[in-house]
Symmetry: C2
Subunit: 319 residues, 2 copies
DNA sequence: TTGTAAGCGTTATCAG
DNA sequence: CTGATAACGCTTACAA
């Protein structure tokens, strides 16, 4: 593999001149520059990023560390991040599991966006103390070099449930996600608060796991109940879709016999029967905003805080 | 940020001894080693991966370059790759778009798995010529340092369609994916060949795009047709799901009035009505095999060729 | 406009 | 068992 040394030799210049030319610095004689660029082309030369990174103390990489590659919302957030990083000439480096910690510790990235509850607060704080700016999307965390932006779960669910109550519904159940999930817990807080403010004393809770399969299982249990709650609010769309599927298989009509709603506005929600009422987050836009923010931080621009991502209630057919 | 120099100084040893200790080499006196490790811990030291990579000419990273983050099958393949790479102490680095080329050219990875039709054959060949081993999953490509493993699209679809014909179906349509997609074209080849071998002269083709939305649109057109094909074979599950949704909304019964089947065996196929008949690929296992293969190549082990990933026909309710 | 040389933080060779 | 030192491939003062 050719190095800059080979290019320099072939062009008959010193290494530094070759470097200047290859980096488009203005201090090289046009003719010399041409010769160098030609030599590089002929040798099929590309600079070794590792060496450059070591010298410049920057990598041009932004890490995105997620807990797994599944899930419809990740793909949207990632796409937004990808677009914005590309615009800013940064590389997107997505990773998961042990690799995330490695890339972070070894400073193979200039900053990172975190969407991985397996990385504990302490770990993140310790990395940030190294000097690596971190943008955390799955929890609220403050500290030196740490920024966070989270969905306004509580506010959005609160608004939605109040709206449903105003339409006359009073018999609610909450189909939860994992009990240690930030998003789940805050959605539940909003749910509870809305009931409380409307003086509704009782509600049921079903314990799901944010998956279609989990929602399906709960749907089956629901069918066995004597007194079925009339409105099942699901902590995310996937749970809702699984739940509705179980009911459909037994011929229970939605929304006539039960109302259902979810959270996330995943693509699929428009392509099921009945179309799913949900709370939508503009994930692509969120990804872009966060990506721009981390770029600004890394390049020491003035920082524009990212607030909650945009959310809205999307009424469709399921309630 | 502390360097190995700081650790060495604090432990009162030379840099090289510190390096030996930190890398667990057997030539360091246990007591000295303890002192060094303690110093490292107290300083909160982690080695700078960039510097290590430059010196060792290895990164420990394997790139996975995909054309976008959406799609249910990626997440499975990625999960398989992640697991296997982690077992082998390699980092997984997923990227897309311009970043993919950058990471490849700048040699920030030791090898890569490619699932991105935007990267042309020539580009891949030129990277491989640099000495970067490449495993290509979305086309058949041969060359120095290039390996590929693709789904046996043709064979599997052929088997499936023959099986359907043997059950008495003869009036087929093919709901395609993008016309430049490798997977789509080979599935079509298998489809055609099966009809041909059974002397079935006619079939229709609907032009889709591998998405639910695309399948849905085609479903709507299908409903307007005077003579509707009795069996619609869809180039992937997402198309099939969209297609079926359009029919369901108009009350067309599947499989009574039309039969439908897909390809991929995505998770969702089990949670719709009717459950989708499909051709399943064990994506997680495939990811593991490919990951192991690239690790073997990078570490110069003897190479075990990865054949086609495992595929099977999964009969459910839609036909 | 070009060249010399130091240095980024490691690893690894060699001598002690 | 430990230490001095060159080298990985590049960028960047500084000198010429």
């Amino acid at each position: 593999m050719p190095t800059i040394k080979d290019v320099a030799k072939k062009a008959g210049v010193s290494i530094s001149t070759a470097s200047y030319a290859l980096n488009n610095l203005p201090n090289v004689h046009p003719e010399t520059k041409q010769r160098i660029l030609l030599a590089a082309k002929e040798l099929n030369y590309y600079p070794n990023g590792i060496a450059r990174n070591l010298k410049t103390q920057r990598t041009g990489n932004i890490g995105v560390f997620i807990y797994g590659f599944a899930g419809p919302i990740f793909s949207d957030v990632l796409e937004g991040i990808r677009q914005k990083l590309q615009e800013n000439h940064f590389n997107i480096v997505v990773s998961s599991g042990k690799s995330s910690s490695n890339l972070l510790q070894e400073r193979q990235v200039d900053g990172a966006i975190i969407f991985d509850s397996e990385l504990t607060d302490e770990i993140l704080i310790s990395y940030a103390n190294y000097g690596l700016p971190l943008y955390v999307l799955d929890r609220i965390l403050t500290g030196n070099n740490i920024y966070s932006s989270v969905i306004d779960n509580e506010g959005l669910v609160y608004r939605f449930i109040r709206m449903m109550i105003s339409r006359g519904h009073r018999d609610f159940a909450y189909l939860s996600g994992p009990s240690d999930a930030f998003n789940n817990n805050h959605r539940y807080d909003g749910f509870i608060q809305a009931l409380k403010d409307e003086k509704i004393e009782n509600h049921q809770v079903f314990h799901g796991d944010f998956t279609i399969g989990g929602g399906y299982r709960i749907g089956q249990e629901y069918l066995k109940m004597e007194k079925r709650p009339q409105f099942v609010y699901c902590a995310n769309d996937e749970s809702a879709i699984g739940f509705m599927q179980a009911l459909r298989e037994k011929g229970v009509k939605i929304p006539e016999e039960v109302k259902v709603a979810g959270f996330d506005n995943i693509y699929l929600g428009e392509y099921i029967t009945p179309k799913l009422t949900t709370i939508g987050i503009d994930h692509v836009k969120w990804g872009k905003e966060v990506a721009q923010a981390i770029v600004d931080i890394v390049t020491k621009q003035k920082i524009k805080e990212v607030g909650h991502p945009e959310g809205s209630i999307i009424m469709r057919e399921s309630c």
